[in-house]
């Protein structure tokens, strides 16, 4: 087990006259949020272990503009987008993988009209491909008998119709996948989307993350899995609020795979 991650940047690769197969878009949460950074590291461990030739933009990466756009500030969004597209196009990026469904959605759907055309994958899809190509084998043992439920991130599920890739990954873990009543197309938001992450909620009688966490907890799962750094924050807070953090873990799909393979 090694903690030294190999994370080449695009600039380094370019200087060496090399090109990656895929660009890993880390995202703001993945770069700065303490909990999300663990997801980033787990995903990189898998990339390193499977020998995927990837690179990150590093300090050249900047916010996709998603929260600005959803808060209604199209200016800030487009400024961010144009800046990012200039960088991505200069490096002739063709394929992007990201651990954030918000970045995924924005890069995939909103950048093309602004001149940024890439093949964009969420990490669940990318991991799925690695498995299909025989490059990644998941060792189930660690999760045998564990009850795992999956919280669909809105921008992955409803936003982009990706429901199966995350579930296929969980199935590989040998655990027991249990579904909440509101799952897949009916999934309930964690409360973070639409830039809500960055402000207090409007007046109501409950926080959305509490409502969602309660639903997950009715299944008495060992693990609540998700595939979004913002859902991670919301559900983790919800579990703490319900004082269940000793019984229930919240993990990202990448973390589950990394743990299963003892990376």
């Amino acid at each position: 087990m090694t903690d030294v991650l190999k994370v080449p940047t695009m600039a380094e690769m370019m200087a060496a006259g090399d090109k990656p197969e895929v660009l890993f878009w880390v995202g703001c949460a993945g770069s700065f949020d303490d909990r999300a950074k663990k997801i980033t590291r787990a995903f990189v461990k898998i990339l390193n272990a499977t020998g995927v030739k990837f690179a990150v933009l590093g300090t050249e990466e900047s916010c996709t503009g998603d929260p600005a756009k959803r808060a209604g500030n199209e200016f800030t969004f487009q400024m961010q987008a144009m800046g990012n597209i200039q960088v991505l196009n200069a490096y002739e990026v063709k394929k992007i993988v990201t651990t954030c469904p918000h970045c995924f959605n924005t890069l995939k759907n909103e950048y093309p009209e602004l001149g940024g055309n890439y093949e964009v994958l969420h990490h669940s899809q990318f991991l799925q491909q690695l498995i299909d190509q025989g490059k990644l084998a998941v060792q189930g043992g660690a999760f045998k008998g564990k009850k795992i439920t999956f919280h669909d991130p809105c921008y992955l599920g409803r936003g982009n119709d990706v429901y199966e890739a995350p579930r296929d990954l969980i199935e590989k873990l040998d655990g027991e996948l249990v579904e909440m009543k509101r799952c897949k197309t009916n999934g309930l938001c964690c409360g973070a989307g639409g830039a809500q992450m960055f402000k207090e909620a409007e007046k109501g009688n409950k926080e959305i993350n509490e409502e969602r966490t309660e639903e997950a907890l009715t299944l008495t799962p060992d693990i609540i899995a998700t595939g979004c750094p913002f859902c991670m924050t919301m559900i983790t807070d919800g579990v703490k609020l319900k004082e269940k953090q000793d019984k229930v873990n919240v993990f990202d799909l990448a973390e589950l795979i990394a743990q299963a393979n003892d990376l």
Binding site: M79, G159, N186, A195, M197, G204
Partner: protein
């Protein structure tokens, strides 16, 4: 041609004209919206319309309501074939003009009767669900008053229409049995044959009166119903089709990129642009960013408002609404329609020009609080049986708030400043973006 035929023709013509006039009003209102190009992917749109509008694929997501609705819908459409005969009979004074079709005719009317009783039953169950079981989504604040009455009126009306149809057949059957002149032998029909004995005590003339009464009630009722539609959420039976056809085909997560902003940003980012050059001649009025009023929305959004059935499926799936926030996507659609109707009437009473009434969709109808509460989760668009997109309206209103009025909650202002200054919604330096690499 008798006097009753003339009366019929007059009523019929008046009803059709009145309806056409109201439809024109609605079409004009929808066209007040800005242009949006939805002329692409025609095959896909057609298929979607057949599946979602005609096939009601999204209705059955909630099986009880879905199946009952399909019964009412199929029944309603098919029974209206009978209206064709009624109209011909009404104009020419014939009776059951299609009865020469023999067994085919009998089969048709027979199946209409079965449908009619099913429709009436379904409507009864709907009434019970609304008024006795009090399904919560029918009792949200925006459903108070007219919307609540509207829903009940329609259901009661449908039951009355179906009863009239069945009773008419029952009287007719008695008259046929007695060999009364004019009442062609058309045979017994599956439902009315059981109702017939109830009327058998009546004299010939009373029966004829009764049969004619039911006939008139049925047709005048249907014409009345037609003219009620444009005032009601029930206009969806017409607009559901174009509404689904022109709905958004892109992934739900995608929001449109504002063209007006794009032009300005491109100019700002263009290294060759001369910063001291005089700005290009503004062409007409500068476009408003986002939406303050219905004029700022596009015609698909306005058509959405007229297509909303007020079913509340969106609201019952909305995380904000579920947790007690004021936001209700159904209310967004109802408010948009109400405001649009108000604007339309304003235009009509001011000789075709809109006279500023000091009101707008934002604030007078939809509050900032509602606009800010949306998580853009798309549960509402997923739920909507006619593919309405409340999120796009919410986002356009937000855009106006943020870009035209700079009215963002303070936390958002901070977040936006951070993105602009250091490329992340939090206050972290861009230079630290790769620090995670070496943190264990």
């Amino acid at each position: 041609m008798g006097i009753s035929n003339i009366i019929f023709i007059l009523i019929f013509a008046a009803a059709v004209l009145l309806f056409a006039k109201h439809v024109k009003f609605i079409v004009r209102n929808i066209k007040l919206g800005k242009d949006i190009d939805r002329s692409d992917r025609k095959d896909e749109r057609l298929k979607l319309m057949i599946k979602v509008a005609l096939g009601q694929s999204k209705m059955v997501k909630r099986p009880i309501a879905g199946i009952l609705h399909i019964i009412v819908y199929v029944g309603f459409v098919i029974i209206n074939l009978e209206v064709l005969e009624i109209i011909i009979d009404g104009i020419f004074g014939t009776h059951r003009v299609f009865s020469f079709l023999g067994p085919v005719y009998n089969g048709l009317i027979g199946s209409f009767e079965v449908l009619a009783i099913l429709v009436a039953l379904a409507c009864l169950i709907f009434l019970i669900r609304r008024n006795i079981l009090k399904i919560p989504r029918f009792h949200k604040p925006e459903m108070k008053g007219w919307p609540y009455t509207d829903a009940n009126l329609i259901l009661i009306f449908e039951i009355l229409l179906m009863s009239a149809f069945l009773l008419m057949d029952a009287a007719d059957y008695n008259l046929q049995q007695r060999g009364v002149d004019h009442y062609v032998k058309a045979g017994a029909y599956p439902v009315s044959v059981f109702l017939a004995p109830l009327l058998s005590g009546m004299s010939d003339s009373a029966l004829i009166m009764f049969e004619r009464g039911m006939w008139w009630f049925h047709i005048v009722g249907i014409l009345g119903f037609l003219n009620y539609l444009p005032y009601s959420k029930h206009f969806h039976i017409i607009l559901a089709f174009p509404n689904v056809y022109y709905s958004k085909l892109d992934p739900k997560g995608k929001l449109d990129n504002l063209e007006s902003v794009k032009k300005e940003v491109e100019l700002m980012m263009d290294p060759n642009a001369d910063p001291f050059a005089a700005p290009a001649e503004p062409q007409g009025e500068p476009e408003r960013f986002g939406a303050k009023d219905v004029f700022d929305l596009n015609w698909v959004q306005l058509m959405n408002a007229y297509s909303c059935t007020e079913c509340g499926r969106c609201t019952s799936a909305c995380p904000a609404n579920i947790t007690g926030k004021k936001l209700s996507p159904r209310k967004i659609m109802m408010d948009t329609r109400d405001r649009l109707e108000e604007v339309g009437k304003n235009i009509d009473s001011n000789g075709g020009e809109f006279k500023d009434d000091g009101k707008s969709l934002l604030r007078d109808y939809i509050s900032e609080e509602e606009v800010l509460a949306c998580t853009t989760c798309n549960a509402c668009t997923e739920e909507c049986p006619v593919n309405i997109d409340p999120v796009s309206i919410i986002i356009d209103l937000r855009r106006y708030l943020i870009m035209e009025e700079s009215k963002a909650p303070q936390e958002w202002t901070m977040m936006l400043t951070n993105i602009e200054n250091n490329g992340a919604p939090w206050q972290f330096s861009q230079a630290d973006r790769l620090n995670w690499k070496n943190e264990a």
